[in-house]
Amino acid sequence: MSETPRLTDLRHTTAFRLTAGLTGVFIVAIFAALWLIYAQTTAQFDQRTDQTIASKARMLAASTTAQRLGAAIAARRDSTSGLEGIAVFDARGRLLIGDRELAPPFPLGRMFERLHGPRGAPVRALALPTIDRMTVVVSRDVTPILDLRARIWAIMWVSGAGAVAVALGAGILLSLGPMRRIRRLEATATRIATGELDLRVAIGRRGDEFDMIAGIINVMVEEIERLLRQVKGATDAIAHDLRTPLSHVRTRLERIALLPALADQPDGEAAMLLAGARDELDAVLARFRALLRMSELEASRRHAQFVAFDPLDMARDLAELYEPLAEERRLTLAATGTTGLAVLGDERLLFEAVGNLVENAIKFSPPGGTIRLSVTEDRDGVAITVTDEGPGIAPAERALVLERFQRGSGTAAIAGSGLGLSLVAVIVALHGFALHLDPATDGPAPGLVARIVAPAITRRTIPEVR
């Protein structure tokens, strides 16, 4: 699991959503304010322009003679050379004086706009009737107003986009920290879930909500660990306490068997019943022994006794030991692998562990199959692998079968205590090695590949085992 948060993950964080929401509200507010300013300003400008145009047009239109009109136009023109335009048309719409860009058609008595007015500029204008059925038109250049509008419009867009960008950035930055902490929390929790119950989630000094969650998780894990210890302790206590009285029962059965009345009739009914009772009791005691032994192994720290040994030698010894058992079930068992590898560990315990895997493979393989015991080296280390052609273990059951007394589904017909694989797991864990139970990828049957992976060591001058 990566601790680096991805953008798609950030999108879902609370911090990001809050920031994004807040930004949205901000943007609406900013736009509303800017829009108000814009609307008010432009309305004001338009109104003033219209007033100027109207007053001038009314003044000109009020002229009672052509001479007065001409004088008034001449007088106005001087002062309005920059922005204003004036034109007078006769009854047939011919230009008598002024700017030809203001030529009809136009409405009389109300404001109109023309994109190309005098000097090519956009204008607002008003046409009014005057003496002798003439028409006087006054216009005003609106370029400054349009400029202002464009500017305000640009300011709105830039500030809006800027606000969005700033909000996004802030959202991401604010989410990164919590996201990293959640990732770390998740990584630790995952390891705890896979059995590392001695791990705890790190709690910061801030005492924020994450630290509160971490604290809650730690309390939970502690409680789970305590309960597990209690369950395991109870199991061990039962095994331990019952062992002595059961041993005494066993001893008494043996003494009964030695009594002359029974000893003289070894095939009699009493002797048979006695033998049956003893066998049952032995099975119970063997399970207790196995349980206690696993607990002892789990508690022990025997790394000091670890020595380097060649796993292939061990595999060959195992194959020799189990070969007749395999043959009895018409199975082929062979040990192969790389020579000269070395593993640091307790050879006797690992022999037992791999022996358990081989015995399982023999137990679950259909007659005629092949069991391969191999020693190889890959990038993970030295792998001791037992491959069979049996039914394999369903993915959902892989972790479960390593628990005490747990057996895979569909194994009810095959005798077993459900302790074999747990012992393997305990021995592997004691060494700090890895145990993998995978489906076989080749071969006709589904099959199981049980693999113990040990870190490779270079052979040093360490005394040989045995």
Binding site: R243, T251, A275, E320, L321
Partner: protein, 256 residues
């Protein structure tokens, strides 16, 4: 169980070249032994006594470690069973002190603690073998008898015999009725072990430990298949069964 004590036959002959030598005389080796049982649990002590006496051994029982040490210094025993936890001094200290006093009596340490480490501790203290409680008396008897025979475990001429079986321990060859057998390494060691204890029941777990040198609990079936394989090599249609199965206990190599 109707087990009869039969003598183990370790026959000494002049070494021949290719066939097993004829025995020169039949020595009566299986004799009554005097065994000290140091055990504070009365139930277990009674079982050990009953099982050993059934094999016609003489048993002296003591419940205290200190008293046992004194007795061992004063009297000669052929073997001793010592419980790991004892009043007075504990079993391992007792064995260590015995060895310090040059008392070489072979000791079988018996303990409720079954772990491999405990076994090593028992042997390190000077014990000769280790047995975890609860045990089957047959297994205990096998272990005691292995200890009793240890002092004479290598015949002078290098040949071991039991009934029709002869073993050349030097050349690692085996014969039945003068007919050479084709045995692989472990099969030879298995037969050798059975021959050494011919006439006695040997428990599966003891066979496993002595022949394979492994100390975990092997399934009965694992030993059974090895015995079955050896049987097929030993036995012919015209021969009577040589390796007997004693139900619930183990195997016995017939001497006849």
């Amino acid at each position: 169980m109707g087990r009869k004590v039969k003598p183990i036959l370790l026959d000494r002959t002049a070494a021949p070249a290719d066939s097993p030598p004829e025995p020169q005389h039949k020595g009566e080796q299986g004799r009554m032994a005097q065994i000290l049982v140091v055990e504070d649990d009365a139930e277990t002590a009674a079982l050990i006594r009953a099982a050993l006496e059934a094999e016609h051994h003489r048993v002296v029982h003591l419940a205290d470690g200190r008293m046992a040490l004194d007795r061992l210094g004063a009297e000669r025993f052929d073997a001793a069973t010592v419980d790991r936890m004892l009043p007075g001094i504990d079993g391992l200290t007792l064995v260590a002190r015995m060895r310090a006093r040059q008392i070489t009596t072979p000791v079988l340490v018996i303990s409720a603690l079954g772990d491999v480490d405990e076994r090593i501790a028992g042997l390190r203290a000077g014990g000769d073998d280790y047995l975890a409680k609860p045990f089957s008396p047959a297994e205990m008897v096998t272990r005691i008898e292995v200890l009793l025979r240890r002092s004479r475990d290598y015949p002078e001429d290098g040949f071991l015999r039991a009934g029709p079986v002869a073993l050349d321990l030097v050349k690692r060859k085996a014969w039945v009725d003068g007919e050479a057998l084709d045995l692989v390494n472990k099969e030879f060691r298995l037969l050798e072990f059975l021959v050494r204890h011919a006439g006695h029941v040997v428990a599966r777990q003891v066979i496993f430990e002595q022949v394979w040198g492994r100390y975990f609990e092997a399934s009965d079936n694992l030993i059974n298949v090895h015995i079955a394989r050896l049987r097929r090599k030993l036995e012919r249609a015209d021969r009577t069964a040589m390796i007997e199965t004693i139900k619930g206990e183990g195997y016995r190599l017939a001497t006849g």
